[in-house]
């Protein structure tokens, strides 16, 4: 058998495993950034929704994205059975699993906007709808040979497809669900509903950071010339620059090196470099990550001011940084590296690529937001609301949705104190 085929398959399989491990990163990120009484629920539902997403991706998602169809949607290869795909020089099943993992990440990001107040049933229904109606069209447009691919849009590993799509669904959800109890005071000022475990959050960032090597470097889909190494270097540099930038900006503005902000900076750097990691030079990766770290700081403050309660900063980390990352290739893509589309503004490509990137961001962002908003509104009407009752929110979703606390001893002793 062809060695290159085997090596490609091995490499992308490793990528798929790393990306699926990122689900673990999201579990730690979301639980660490929220309160103890919801920890078990958040951890459990993340595994559950990934499972639902997996089955839907197998049944229809893959076919809608990569099947034969038109420039708007694919329509074949449903219920994928493990065959190889002619145009690919790697195992079809490995490619399928890798793509499934991406769809799962996008779905998990979307649920960031549900945190600490949505009913479990809302997660289950939206997991199905997102996996069929929201994610596949955008993935098809950019990666499945759809109209944006023909247009030359650069999104190497999914700043738009995965992150912006997830973030826009999260935005629709946060708007419809409204802020958590106690987030805002009567005079409009915001309270800090601090997450219960910064160590979890920091570990989540490390897990996601490492997982991102699968996400970005794995997206080469081949071991050809060892190019994945270059992609991984860019990924690491952007994450590092994002961390440092967020630390500096929070120290300058707030007078303190805020730990959650620093961690969000790392993630913003990773999200931003996702689109551009294969198209830009290493110095540009540092610049892209650094700008993402600053951007995420102001974005979090902006959303809070707009009274959009985003418990785990999904809108800023995946949305704002996803937009910036997608636009960044319009500035920094080099002639040699731009295997898709044109070089960016700083490499003699003029404004052309920037325009293509901007169009992609606007169309995909608007589609994900509008469709999610409509779906969630229908769900809200049909399901008698998406949100748990006030009482359930106060006792915590661990108890209201699942009947047991993630930290039984601690939460119960705390409730006794407040009784």
């Amino acid at each position: 058998m062809d060695t290159v085929f085997l090596m490609n398959s091995m490499w992308v399989m490793l990528g798929a495993v790393l990306v699926i491990l990122m689900i673990g990163g999201f579990i730690l990120l979301e639980t660490g950034s929220t309160r103890m009484k919801n920890a078990g629920h958040i951890a459990g539902k993340t595994i559950l929704t990934f499972s639902i997403g997996s089955i839907l991706f197998w049944a229809v998602g893959f076919g809608l994205i990569f099947g034969k169809g038109n420039s708007l949607i694919g329509f074949s290869h449903f219920f994928y059975s493990g065959y190889d795909i002619d145009s690919l020089s790697l195992s079809g099943a490995v490619f399928f699993l890798f793509q499934l993992a991406f769809a799962g990440i996008s779905l998990t990001i979307a649920f960031g906007g549900f945190a600490e107040r949505a009913k479990l049933s809302a997660y289950l229904v939206f997991a199905v709808l997102f996996s069929i109606i929201v994610y596949p069209p955008i993935a098809h447009w950019i990666w499945g040979g759809g109209w944006l691919a023909e247009h030359g849009k650069q999104d190497f590993a999914g700043s738009t497809v995965v992150h912006l799509t997830g973030a826009m669904a999260a935005l629709a959800a946060t708007i419809i669900l409204k802020p958590r109890i106690g987030k805002y005071n009567k005079d409009g000022s915001a309270n800090n509903l601090a997450g219960h475990n910064q160590v979890f959050t920091a570990l989540s960032v490390l897990l996601l950071w490492v997982g991102w090597f699968g996400f970005n470097a794995g997206s080469t889909l081949s071991v050809d010339k060892g190019f994945f190494g270059f992609v991984a270097v860019n990924t690491n540099l952007a994450a590092a620059a994002g961390t440092v930038a967020a630390m500096i900006i929070s120290w300058i503005v707030l007078g303190k090196a805020d730990v959650p902000m620093m961690l969000n900076g790392a993630l913003a750097g990773l999200v931003a470099i996702t689109a551009s990691c294969a198209f830009v030079e290493t110095w540009a990766a540092v610049v892209i990550g650094f700008i993402a770290g600053i951007l995420v700081f102001y974005s979090i403050r902006f959303f809070e001011k707009m009274k959009i309660d985003d418990p785990i900063a999904a809108l800023s980390v995946h949305g704002a940084a996803g937009v910036w990352g997608t636009l960044s290739t319009g500035f920094f893509a080099t002639k040699e590296l731009a295997t898709v589309g044109q070089p960016g503004l700083f490499y003699g490509g003029g404004l052309h690529q920037l325009g293509v990137q901007a169009l992609g961001v606007v169309v995909c962002g608007a589609f994900a937001f509008i469709v999610s908003f409509i779906l969630l509104s229908i769900m809200k009407a049909a399901m008698n609301g998406l949100r748990v009752t006030e009482e359930e929110e106060i006792i915590g979703l661990d108890m209201s949705e699942h009947g047991s606390y993630g930290y039984p001893e601690l939460v119960k002793s705390e409730q006794k104190l407040h009784a």
Binding site: N185, S189, A190, N191, N192, I252, V253, L254, G255, K256
Partner: protein, 328 residues
């Protein structure tokens, strides 16, 4: 019977407050007067049950009351020093301390969470026991002991023998080995909340009910209070209020410090807190709503804060130099 009389004092407090709360000095004089009325009332009550005081004593206030920096709302921080050592005296003055604490609470001064009250044996002792305790605190020199020592140094006699507090402070100053004591005191008061960022913007609260307001207690007052207390220790000053400590400091011990300037700035700071703080409760009174200030006033507040930090750093630097030169 005692309850109804404390109610009278509470009414007095209520009636006088508006008039007194126009400037920090008259406000603190009113607090003193209320305390003195409560003490007199409590002494009458105790005299009925246990007779007159068995020996001379001093009732002192400490914390913000000691430093004459109370705002309208204040909790109680106080202690008793009595002359003769003995079980009966100890019992008597603890009863008195308990009655005073109860009375103060009824009049509107909540109990001190940290237990700095003359109803607590730790803060109600004979002169000789106080001396021993202060020496122990100096020798132990751990975080808690140093904290207590600093609290005691803010003591101000409010009732009884004026000299008792002063004698004990002198005892501290004369027996302390400053090169050993100072590093502990510095370590205990090293933290202060930053008030201005590197871009020169005021660091107001970002979250919570006081978002947009400045925590004037931690950001504004503390650097002045802590720095000036250290000056007082070095210069053996027995006064407790920050302003009188500044007045009393020698010109030579900190030649770089413009004390007149700092006196003015600190007075302004107390005025800002009183005039702009939301006087609904103790916590709210310590937040300065920056949006209500004019541009000029905001700049003034910023300068006061910057000067406080500068004063703190100057004192700290000077004392660290002294320590490394091995002063006694």
């Amino acid at each position: 019977m005692s309850r109804s009389s404390y109610t009278e004092i509470q009414k007095f407090r209520f009636n006088q407050m508006d008039e007194a709360a126009i400037d920090p000095l008259s406000l603190n004089r009113l607090h003193d007067e209320i305390f003195q009325r409560v003490i007199t009332q409590a002494m009458g009550q105790i005299a009925k049950d246990y007779g007159p005081p068995p020996c001379p004593f001093s009732f002192f206030v400490t914390g913000s009351a000691g430093r004459m920096e109370q705002s309208i709302w204040s909790d109680q921080d106080h202690g008793i020093i009595f002359h003769d050592d003995g079980h009966e005296e100890q019992f008597y003055f603890l009863q008195l301390g308990r009655e005073i604490s109860t009375g103060l609470c009824q009049v509107g001064y909540p109990y001190c969470h940290g237990g700095v009250m003359s109803s607590n044996p730790l803060w109600c002792k004979s002169s000789s026991q106080w001396q021993k305790q202060l020496s122990k605190w100096m020798n132990e020199a751990d975080w808690e002991a140093t904290r207590y020592l600093l609290i005691f140094l803010d003591a101000r006699n409010l009732f009884g023998e004026q000299t008792f507090v002063q004698q004990l402070k002198k005892h501290v100053y004369h027996t302390a080995n400053q090169s050993l004591l100072m590093p502990n005191l510095l370590a205990n008061t090293m933290y202060y909340k930053k008030g201005v960022n590197v871009l020169g913007k005021l660091l107001t609260e970002t979250h919570g009910p006081y978002a947009g307001s400045l925590n004037i207690k931690e950001i504004g007052l503390f650097p002045y209070v802590n720095a000036v207390r250290l000056i007082a220790i070095k210069d053996h000053i027995v006064e407790a209020s920050t302003l009188s400590r500044l007045e009393a400091m020698s010109e030579t011990s900190f030649p770089t410090i413009d004390k007149k300037g700092y006196i003015q700035q600190f007075q302004k700071l107390l005025n800002y807190r009183l005039l702009f703080g939301d006087q609904t409760n103790y916590t709210s009174s310590h937040y300065l709503p920056i949006k209500q200030l004019t541009k000029q006033q905001t700049k003034e507040v910023k300068d006061i804060i910057k000067d406080g930090a500068a004063l703190y750093h100057a004192v700290r630097k000077s004392l660290e130099k002294d320590v490394s030169n091995g002063i006694k």
